[in-house]
């Protein structure tokens, strides 16, 4: 259970960084508050809560990728990981130890977002619970992507790639802020090959209780989560012993 000891350490690192916690949980909440306020003052239906909430949850997860990438790249920049590399820990122990403590953070982020949405008028049904639970699959995908990037990039590069590029990709290609069908063509096709829009649509379908239409979004999200987690383990393994 080496991964568990490592996960405990990482959980402490996350919990002892109040800025990360506050931003991670607070940002989606502020976002949903602001956009709902805008919706109330415009005549067209642009940011309805049943469409907006799953989108904001997924967009919020893109910051988890940044936090995960920073955690791992900061460790890599010190001798701390070097010490751990000389212990019997495996790459899977490392990635699991980084990944697992971030899942409760994702769950808290999702919970707060749905609670605020409920206060603003979203009916809190069992479907919302299902949407929240399924969104954790997208969270794992984002965290693993962050771990993968944090394994190959240094902490300065991580800021640019995860902080700017990934959040922008997630914003533009998720269909949270505008309907992808409105743009259509290759843009929509690309969006649905990437995980962001699939994650949002998965949440929207679950929230609407349309469980029959969860696929193919579910498979895309599950596929990305598995592939990125395995890739993170393999790349981390290759970094553990320099040839």
């Amino acid at each position: 259970m080496r991964w568990l000891a490592f996960a405990r350490r990482n959980a402490r690192e996350i919990l002892r960084d109040p800025l990360t916690l506050a931003f991670g949980v607070g940002f989606p909440v502020v976002l949903i508050l602001l956009l709902t306020l805008i919706q109330r003052n415009i005549p067209v239906s642009l940011f309805e809560l049943d469409q907006l909430t799953p989108g904001v949850v997924v967009f919020g997860y893109s910051f988890l990728a940044l936090f995960a990438a920073l955690l791992i790249s900061k460790d890599r920049s010190t001798s701390f990981l070097l010490r751990l590399f000389s212990t019997p820990m495996t790459a899977a122990d490392f990635i699991l130890g980084y990944l697992l403590p971030m899942v409760p953070m994702a769950a808290a982020q999702c919970l707060f977002t749905y609670l605020v949405a409920a206060i603003l008028g979203l009916p809190l049904t069992v479907h919302a619970l299902a949407a929240g639970a399924l969104s954790l699959l997208t969270a794992v995908m984002f965290i693993s992507l962050g771990l993968l990037l944090g394994t190959v990039l240094n902490d300065k590069q991580v800021g640019g790639v995860c902080g700017a590029l990934l959040t922008n990709l997630s914003a533009w290609l998720s269909g949270t802020w505008f309907s992808l069908a409105l743009v259509g063509g290759w843009f929509e096709k690309i969006a649905f090959v990437l995980p962001f829009a699939n994650g949002v649509e998965l949440g929207r379908a679950a929230l609407a209780g349309q469980y029959g239409s969860l696929t193919p979004y579910l498979w895309w999200c599950l596929g990305y989560a598995v592939v990125l987690t395995v890739a993170a383990v393999l790349v981390f393994h290759s970094r553990m012993r320099v040839k």
Binding site: M1, L4, F6, R12, T78, S79, S86, P88, M89, R241
Partner: protein, 243 residues
């Protein structure tokens, strides 16, 4: 059985040969110091022996296990205190020790018991609850060594453990390291000749990736005709007597 048997170990980075044809045997319980100027190959040697980097050629057996083919078994019997202080900065001293004990597979209770022993042995009780990042350089180095010892390794690598410390902190750490003599096989790399002279049973001098000489201080003086260890070291480092 010898603790370490090195045969024809070589490490090349592109056209640069960092360590060349290293042959060396270190007995169990021996305190061995590796001396050399910057770039002599000391740290690369430690990295190869602690399974952090693969040799380009040759092999070494640590307590009978090959660093090339049995890295996982080697990692179970060694510990490394890297050149830079390798600690988890946001964890307290106690948490750091419990964490490393957990990484080495100790149960929660066993980790707590072992941590108590380490706090006592290394005199870390006054700072036990203090976060590692708030400790002075001397305390951090002491914690770094404690972290290496918490798993009760049979072979301990100390890579320049007193680098950058003031005289008082260095002497204090010497006392800690000296207490390990005979109990653990220690391989110490250092720039400080007086450190090697005070602590080591035998000394190896490396220059330009090659092991120039091995012996006790008296043997090195006899070999080189130097008046003291500094003389002997300079003669060897500048290309005098060979192994």
């Amino acid at each position: 059985m010898n603790a370490i048997e090195i045969q024809g170990l070589r490490k090349c980075y592109g056209s640069l040969t960092a360590v060349d044809d290293l042959n060396l045997t270190i007995g169990q319980g021996e305190f061995f110091a590796l001396l050399g100027v910057n770039g002599a190959g000391k740290t690369t040697t430690i990295k190869m022996l602690s399974c952090l980097t693969l040799p380009t050629a040759g092999d070494a057996r640590l307590l009978g296990r090959s660093i090339c083919t049995e890295a996982e078994q080697v990692k179970r019997v060694i510990a490394v205190s890297p050149q830079e202080t390798a600690i988890a900065p946001n964890l307290s001293v106690t948490e750091n020790l419990e964490f490393l004990a957990g990484i080495h597979g100790l149960s929660k209770e066993a980790a707590k018991a072992r941590t108590a022993v380490m706090l006592e042995t290394l005199g870390l009780q006054p700072v036990a609850k203090q976060r590692a990042k708030t400790l002075s350089g001397g305390w951090q180095r002491r914690l770094s060594i404690a972290l290496a010892l918490v798993s009760q390794p049979e072979i301990l690598f100390l890579d320049e453990p007193t680098l950058g410390l003031d005289v008082l902190a260095r002497r204090e750490l010497w006392r800690v390291i000296e207490a390990l003599k005979g109990k653990v096989t220690v391989i110490l790399t250092t720039h400080y000749l007086e450190e090697a002279e005070a602590l080591a049973d035998r000394i190896g001098v490396m220059a330009a990736g090659r092991l120039k000489a091995v012996g006790t201080v008296a043997e090195l003086l006899a070999m080189t005709g130097g008046k003291n260890l500094e003389d002997a070291f300079l003669i060897l480092a500048e290309g005098g007597a060979a192994q």
